[in-house]
């Protein structure tokens, strides 16, 4: 199976401004950053979380705690995949108890990843609330999950995939819609 | 009905025959060996391109009867023997009950004649219950027809007991076959001690376990003048010890088995219990030394140490698996591949190791020779036939061999015992 690139839907500048906008929305929505922490889902959600924390920190002039969550061990499809996915480290160095957690991922699709992440997060303690921020919402939900903050809504078909590229992992920033070829 | 074997290559070292000849059998005896024998009315077996030699004699077989008839019986063992070209065998005493009295010796002889396929000679135990403590009633056992004495499977650790056994058995002309193993050195050991045992974490048996006993037994044979035969020699140093003993004029003979000139300890890798055997398989160097011992005459005989074991005894942890492998059906083909094709022995030399010498060592009169008047025990062998060892086609009741799947060169076509065709092209009569 090959992927054929169809369209570049966001460039580096658009990603940057989406993150800035979400940063402002989060601060506005929560009135303050007191008791607020950010947790990104590995791999690209964690990278986005770092950037988002940086923006928010700059706005309020204080450091926002940020962590990375690996949800592999919570996946509901381990019995279906051909081989075990690589497990990465979960790094949450702060107590999440009674915090407002901003959960960050790159693309919101079926909602299953977020479901795993919620289960994983709750194993670390009982946050006051969990809010969801994503760069791209592409629809096709299979679970009752929605994003509190979305960088961009991109209507897609299920044959398509949305790829978020980030400098730290992929050498460049951008969001691409691609189609699977038979 | 008379039988004539036409046009084969006859190998009869006892009579210095190694040429194209016919063999005529009348009744249960050999009538004549020579060129272009005319025999009107005789059944003719075409032996063109085949080898014809005196029937093979296995000095070392475990038939498991009485006691473990699920593993082998006199009948099934006899069939395996015929397929392997053997017309006579000596069955070991470590049955249950042990062949350690006149009654059990007679029982084996009755079972053998009931099976009616080959000559089965019982060996009886040297000591009661194979315990290495008290001598059996050797005089009565000799009268009952035992052809040798052996505690095989176990050594006689007490040198004094073996000394007395050699002296006492000498009165009856009985041979003592010694299983050489120092059980203090070999205790709990399951394979040869060396790099492979280190790698597998299995308890090793040092090679000295065999050799110190070979040396001890040689000295006892020298001391007593008794008839000593050393079973299943596997170690280089043991071959050397026997070579020296023979130079000194001590009356000792010895045997090795096909696995000791075919396989090495590497066969154990992967915890293969089918390659667990006692004495354990050794190194390439030992294999080379055993071959040298065969070619220079140090080793007198090739026996099989055919040791049938049930699946339950082998399909277990390596430590708990029984030792031994079956051998009757493969011995001649392995010898053909390893010894003839590698020019270790010529056919005359091999027939000596597998027929002439065993007959001599066991004092089997009329065996091991095709001279007129000898017993008509004959093996016809096709040295170029190829076959693959397939567990399903093994005649022995047990299938414990590490050779499954191996290509064999040479197959027995006809086995004649006492003038009767008992085995011919895969069929038993």
């Amino acid at each position: 199976m090959k992927l054929r690139e169809k369209a570049k839907v966001m460039d580096a500048g658009q990603i940057e401004s989406a993150i800035v906008r979400i940063a402002h929305e989060i601060i506005e929505n929560n009135k303050s950053v007191e008791g607020l922490a950010i947790v990104g889902i590995r791999t690209r959600g964690a990278l986005l979380a770092d950037r988002l924390a940086g923006k928010m920190g700059a706005i309020v002039d204080r450091e926002i705690p940020v962590g990375a969550l690996d949800i592999t061990l919570y996946r509901d499809d381990l019995t279906d995949v051909a081989e075990q996915p690589v497990v990465h480290k979960t790094e949450i160095d702060f107590d999440i108890h009674d915090k407002v957690i901003i959960l960050v991922d790159d693309v919101l699709y079926t909602g299953r990843t977020i479901r795993c992440a919620l289960d994983a997060l709750i194993d670390f303690g009982r946050p006051k609330s969990i809010q969801l921020a994503v760069l791209v919402d592409r629809g096709h939900r299979e679970l009752p999950i929605r994003a509190d903050y979305a960088g961009k809504n991109i209507p897609t078909s299920q044959k398509e995939t949305v790829q978020v590229k980030m400098k730290e992992a992929d050498g460049e920033d951008g969001v691409i819609v691609a189609e699977m070829e038979e | 009905m008379d039988i004539i074997l036409k046009g084969g290559h006859v190998v009869d070292p006892a009579n210095n025959v190694d040429s194209g000849s016919d063999v005529l059998i009348k009744g249960d005896k050999i009538a004549q060996v020579g060129k272009n024998i005319k025999a009107n009315g005789a059944k003719t077996i075409d032996c063109k391109g085949k080898l014809v030699f005196p029937g093979l004699i296995d000095m070392h077989t475990h038939l498991r009867q009485p006691g473990r008839e699920d593993e082998e019986t006199v009948l099934t063992g006899s069939r395996a023997a015929l397929k392997g070209g053997f017309t006579s065998l000596l069955c070991m005493a470590n049955t249950s009950p042990v062949i350690d009295n006149k009654g059990v010796v007679e029982y084996i002889r009755v079972e053998a004649s009931r099976a009616g396929l080959i000559n089965v000679y019982p060996a009886a135990a040297v000591t009661k219950g194979l315990e290495g403590k008290e001598l059996t009633e050797i005089g009565q056992i000799a009268e009952a027809g035992a052809k040798a004495l052996s505690d095989d499977g176990k050594p006689i650790m007490n040198a004094e007991i073996l000394r007395r056994a050699l002296e006492y058995a000498k009165m009856f002309g009985l041979l003592i076959i010694s299983h050489c193993e120092d059980t203090n050195l070999s205790r709990n050991g399951v394979m040869n001690e060396g790099f492979i045992s280190t790698k597998l974490g299995l308890k090793g048996i040092p090679r000295a376990s065999e050799t110190v006993m070979v040396m001890r037994d040689i000295e006892l044979a020298g001391l007593t003048g008794g008839k000593l035969h050393i079973a299943h020699i596997s170690a280089k140093e043991s071959v050397e010890a026997v070579r020296e003993a023979k130079k000194r004029g001590i009356g000792v003979t010895c045997e090795t088995c096909p696995h000791y000139f075919t396989l090495t300890e590497e066969a154990v890798l992967g915890f293969n219990t089918k390659a667990k055997v006692n004495p354990p398989l050794k190194t390439k160097e030992d294999v080379a030394s055993v071959k040298k011992g065969l070619s220079d005459g140090t080793i007198d005989a090739i026996s099989t140490d055919h040791a049938p074991h049930s699946v339950e005894e082998k399909d277990v942890e390596f430590d708990f698996a029984a030792s031994g492998m079956i051998g009757l059906e493969f011995a001649l083909s392995l010898a053909n591949t390893e010894l003839i094709n590698n020019k270790i022995l010529d056919w005359s030399g091999l027939v000596k190791k597998m027929s002439v010498n065993p007959a001599k060592i066991l004092s089997l009169h009329g065996k091991g020779s095709l001279a007129a008047g000898s017993d008509a025990d004959i093996t016809v062998f096709d040295p170029s036939a190829e076959w693959i060892v397939d567990e399903k086609r093994i005649e022995s009741k047990s299938k414990n061999t590490p050779l499954a799947g191996r290509k064999m060169v040479g197959a027995v076509l006809v086995t004649i015992v006492g003038g009767k065709i008992k085995y011919e092209n895969g069929k038993f009569n």
Partner: protein, 312 residues
């Protein structure tokens, strides 16, 4: 990470590649954090059944595996028996087939006979994890030792590791030797000649009977447990002499490097192979080994549970 895991069983480190060992170590690194959470449990092996099949008494290894399995939400069953009672009736293979028929996913097995786990691995479909077989291998112990070394030294290649004690009967020594040499360490083994297996140098290790030589220049010293029963088998004259010649004490530590790591697979015979002051001293990472054991075993359970190819 280039390596992929495709093995149904973990029987030993002999057969693993350096990449496969690396994959287990990296996976274990990710698992380590789980045991530090308030809720020490992930749902990964939910609905999977694991049998701990121990034919030899063991507290430490069994507990470590049990915790690893429980922290991954597997259901576990303990079977403790002795090898000898099994030989009387049912064979090992029969017992295993019965367990297989109960639809078990993983069998963790300890046995006094070398090769016993392989016998099972060849005949049943559940994954077999060797928790120590005879004197053959103890792969998870080898892995956790290497993991602990790597945590401290940040590398394995080029390190000098000395393993001291009863090498002949030690499955821990063998698994360490296989793993460490594959990853490029220089391994020295040291012990009395009677407890040194023949031709061990062919495994790529240096052999010495002089403990001073084993200590000098070593980055890591792994002290093996001496089975006190061996005293009666003429393998060494007395425990006292063993402790004097091959035990690690403050006096012998004078030869050690300043940043040496002292390891021991446990349980320790205090005052025999190692004195309490050394076992509890600043160089000792013995308790870290125990902590890391759980992460390594979780990683192994995770990796084998994903393998789909099974014996029919």
């Amino acid at each position: 990470m280039a390596a992929k895991w495709a093995r149904k069983d973990l029987l030993g480190l002999e057969t693993l590649s350096a990449d496969e060992i690396g994959l287990i170590l990296e996976t274990a690194d990710s698992f380590k954090e789980i045991s530090q959470r308030p809720i020490k449990k992930v749902p990964t092996l939910r609905g999977q059944t694991i049998v701990l099949f121990f034919f030899e008494p063991s507290t430490r290894t069994r507990t470590s595996f049990e915790l690893a399995a429980k922290r991954m939400s597997a259901d576990i069953v303990n079977i403790q028996t002795s090898a000898s009672s099994l030989t009387k009736g049912e064979t090992l293979r029969d017992t295993a087939r019965n367990i297989e028929a109960m639809k078990v996913n993983i069998i963790i097995m300890r046995h006094s006979s070398s090769g016993a786990p392989q016998l099972l691995a060849e005949s049943v479909s559940p994954s077999i994890i060797n928790a120590g077989d005879g004197s053959h291998e103890h792969p998870t112990q080898g892995l956790l030792d290497i993991f602990t070394i790597k945590e401290h030294k940040k590398k394995i290649a080029g390190l000098n590791v000395s393993i001291i004690g009863d090498i002949a009967h030690s499955r821990v020594a063998r698994s360490n030797i296989w793993g460490l040499t594959k990853l490029g360490a220089n391994v020295t083994v040291c012990g009395p000649a009677t407890l040194m297996p023949p031709e061990i140098e062919k495994l790529g290790v240096k052999v010495t009977y002089d403990i001073k030589e084993a200590i000098e220049g070593a980055d890591v010293i792994n002290m093996l447990r001496i089975q006190l029963e061996r005293q009666g088998q003429s393998l060494f004259p007395s425990i006292r002499e063993y402790a004097m010649k091959f035990g690690l004490d403050a006096d012998k530590m004078k030869y050690a490097k300043k940043d040496v790591l002292i390891m021991h697979p446990g349980p320790i015979n205090r005052g025999v192979e190692i004195t309490p002051e050394i076992a509890d001293g600043p160089y000792s990472v013995i308790l870290e080994q125990v902590t890391n054991g759980i992460a390594v075993r979780m990683a192994v359970l995770y990796l084998v549970s994903g393998v789909k190819e099974r014996i029919e």
